[in-house]
Amino acid sequence: MSHELRQPEDDDPVIMTVDERSVWVYLAVVTITSVAYFAVVVPRALSQPIGDVSWITPMLWAIGVSIVGTIVGSIFGSIGGAIGLAIRGIEPKGQLEGDLRDKDIKRLGDSRSALVSGAAMLGVLVLAMIGADLFWIGNLVFLAGTAGAFVEGVTKILAYRRGF
């Protein structure tokens, strides 16, 4: 059974490129893993001395799940996009892969992210200078990464949706 795929007409729905799908996945995964991490670690930090709080294993899990989740989610998102187009009988070629606009949006998101992460790193430097517990240093680094990732994701989504 063969189906002839057609080029999209102007009134066909606009689908997301692979890059935009990946941004949504990245934002969702980072938000979920960060919330889960802090939901585990904050109660521990409030109930016992900071030096005794076990935070390294949860953080490694959060980082690992973020990386794997983003990769796997992006792959499934791309496949889902192609299948969705094929079901509607639309040729996926030229609809999914990114172009100059995606690169411009990536550049914008990366620069905003670097700004946030960089600013937070100054706080890390201060903590190290005053000899703060490794818990605070490690967690501020994690928070800086999370905040940077969140700003990056939101910046990109707004650029895709509202323009820039």
Partner: protein, 76 residues
């Protein structure tokens, strides 16, 4: 949430129809970009690079300022 307008306006939609009702997908294919990018430019949500702007003008066989206009602060 309303789209964030750029100061660059364009006549791409009208020009596409003048050029044999060229679809967004046709135009995207000729420019080597995605249909999403053509739509974003057409709706004023993305200002193309100077190079792409010239390519678009060339595609319609029009001078650049017949396709794109820069909106001044005073609305001129």
């Amino acid at each position: 949430m309303p789209p964030k307008p750029t100061k660059v306006t364009n006549r791409i939609r009208a020009l596409r129809f003048e050029c044999g009702e060229m679809t967004q997908a046709d135009m995207a294919e000729r420019l080597g970009v995605t249909r999403q990018t053509v739509i974003a430019i057409e709706q004023g949500k993305y200002s193309p690079s100077l190079e792409m702007a010239f390519e678009i003008a060339r595609l319609f066989k029009r001078p650049l300022d017949d396709v794109f206009r820069y909106q001044q602060e005073d609305g001129a």
